[in-house]
């Protein structure tokens, strides 16, 4: 099959996170990041670079874009978790991503439930259900 991407095998790869602050008002808690760090996924390298980004009110779209680009190009990251609320801010970038590794998983946040209609990966395969696209290929 043409254009099959090479799968980089690795015995110990990381899970990266880009998650938004939860909660309203002045009491904002980063529960998603704190929770997954409790589960042991946090990694800080020798240059003090982390495998997560907490998106708060001061975080710019450029910073989110840079973090997404960095995590999706690092060879030691296998999965990138991104709150769907944050993914919506950089939707064009997430839509254009098409490598098998790292896998991008959009996750809900406390204030913003997951909506499959906005998921970039699901949107990419949705057209397979379109009768026009399927019928045109069948002669």
């Amino acid at each position: 099959m043409a254009n099959r991407a090479q799968i980089p095998t690795k015995s110990s790869a990381l899970i990266a996170m880009i998650a938004d602050e939860n909660g309203k008002g002045y009491k904002n808690y980063e529960d998603t990041v704190v929770g997954f760090l409790l589960a042991g996924v946090g990694n800080v390298d020798i240059r003090r670079k982390t495998n997560y980004l907490i998106v708060d009110s001061k975080t710019t779209v450029k910073q989110i874009e840079d973090a997404f680009k960095e995590f999706t190009t690092r060879e030691d990251i296998a999965i990138v978790l991104i709150s769907q609320y944050v993914a919506n801010m950089i939707r064009f970038l997430v839509d254009s991503y098409n490598k098998p590794v790292p896998a991008i998983l959009e996750i809900p946040s406390k204030d913003h439930p997951y909506d499959p209609a906005h998921d970039s990966v699901l949107s990419r395969v949705k057209y397979l259900f379109s009768t026009e696209s399927v019928a045109s290929g069948r002669r």
Partner: protein, 197 residues
């Protein structure tokens, strides 16, 4: 060359091999249906897991909020996170399935730094390598993760940790299903494009 002169009624035996050769370039009808089923199954599983994830995360957030209520906000926030050099205890192993070019992720929970280099059983079909709760090293790694937030850890924080671990397992299942349906999709898409030519 000989193919152009053949009629429907006459197919010399050597033509069968050439027909087979032509078909090798495209999927046979049976393989196509199998791919469609694989696509639908993987997509259905992915959506089921995402519902399960939402439920697990909801419970985890509730437990974390309860822990924060008993510990106080100052003892449970991101300013306490360890920013010194340390490797992740929970990592992933990436392999490639032999039958088709799709990635497979295996979660490795609470691996101590000494065990990082050890090779896991590559024939395992499970998405998670279960952490033996009785293992001293696993208990040590779990406790180290909790100790960031102090010595006296309330039960709700331990429960939240377990819930987020379950969420991680679900996420790895989702990643594997995503890999599967994307792989099927690309093959079917290629078939549709080939049929258009």
């Amino acid at each position: 060359m000989e193919e152009r002169h053949l009629t429907v009624d006459q197919e010399p035996p050597q033509e069968a091999a050439e027909v087979v050769n032509r078909r090798e370039v495209r999927l046979e009808p049976g393989a196509e249906e199998k791919l469609v089923l694989q696509f639908m199954d993987s997509l259905n599983s992915y959506l089921s897991f995402s519902h399960s994830l939402s439920s697990t995360l909801g419970q985890a957030w509730m437990e974390l909020a309860s822990a924060r209520h008993s510990m106080g906000t100052a003892r449970l926030n991101t300013s306490l996170l360890d920013l010194k050099f340390h490797p992740a205890s929970t990592t992933l192993k990436i392999t490639e399935c032999d039958d088709d070019a799709k990635a497979r992720f295996v979660l490795r929970k609470w691996v101590s730094p000494e065990e990082v280099g050890e090779d896991e059983d590559s024939n395992s079909t499970k998405s998670s390598v279960p952490a033996d709760d009785d293992d001293e090293a696993v208990r040590r790694e779990r406790a180290k993760s909790l100790s960031v937030f102090g010595i006296l850890i309330p039960p709700k924080l331990r429960a939240a940790q377990q819930s987020f671990e379950r969420a991680l397992e679900t996420l790895v299942e989702m990643a594997n299903m995503q890999s599967s349906f994307l792989n099927s999709f690309h093959q079917l898409h290629q078939e549709v494009e080939d049929n258009k030519e």
